[in-house]
Symmetry: C2
Subunit: 153 residues, 2 copies
């Protein structure tokens, strides 16, 4: 793992990043919910008004992990940072790559004076929950996600 | 209610908007979690890089409701819109003001080609859940909120 590099994501990383998104969606038993595409991510993540930012973890030129985030807002905590996905591909887990990705995101949140960093975890994903506990995360299962997809408005 | 106006929020609306945030936090039994301030909201919501946008519902010059949102990102659905708070003060509920606020947010999401609009509800807030069902919302209680506050990173 000497060649591990954590760096900002570039447009040409999107195809590999999208593969990680698909891998995680299969683990999360929700592959059919992925309506996004490589082309859409390339368009929305770059240009005048990028909708997200991301870091990648690269080993020998292969992207083995990523953290994708955007700036959110909490009327309770002020400007905040939301991590939509933080993924390390299965073969490269338990090597501290997730820690390094989180660390990069922490640095951004500090620099941007964010009141909190937040994300979500599936209630049955015990390994992830235990990992987040070690990071010092607080959990709140009292809130339910509500969504209206674009076909309904 | 002839004088009801739904319009974009301005900086000078923030003190009244913050009162609505406090009112809702008391109902949600979480008043002590509000670390935000009027000054911080004024700074973060305006200027070069506004962290949120909002609509207000105004009756005779008094702000009786608001919807505060920002653009989010979902690796599954693409560019999306998150409603952090949609509040109608108690005395003005059941008059269709919430519908009109949602309608304005729907228009923004359409214009910006958002894949979904999303928000959260407390699992015991049955009146809100029933209202969101009528709007066509889907609910997903399988996800748990995780957060690290700024004192820990």
């Amino acid at each position: 793992m000497e060649s591990l590099v954590i760096r900002k994501g570039k447009k040409e990383d999107i195809p590999q990043v999208f593969n990680l998104v698909k891998e995680l969606s299969i683990f999360e038993k929700a592959e059919e919910k992925v309506a996004n595409t490589i082309e859409r991510m390339e368009m929305e993540g770059f240009g005048d008004n990028p909708a997200f930012k991301f870091f990648v973890a690269e080993v020998n030129g292969q992207i083995v992990g990523m953290a994708l985030y955007y700036f959110s807002y909490s009327t309770w905590k002020g400007r905040s940072l939301y991590i939509d996905d933080l993924i390390v591909t299965e073969a490269f887990r338990k090597k501290g790559i997730g820690d390094q990705l989180f660390q990069k995101v922490f640095e951004v949140a500090k620099k941007e004076k964010c009141g909190k960093i937040h994300w979500q975890v599936l209630d049955w994903n015990t390994p992830a929950i235990n990992y987040y506990k070690k990071l010092g995360a607080e959990f709140d299962g009292e809130w339910i996600n509500c969504a209206i997809t674009s076909d309904k408005y």
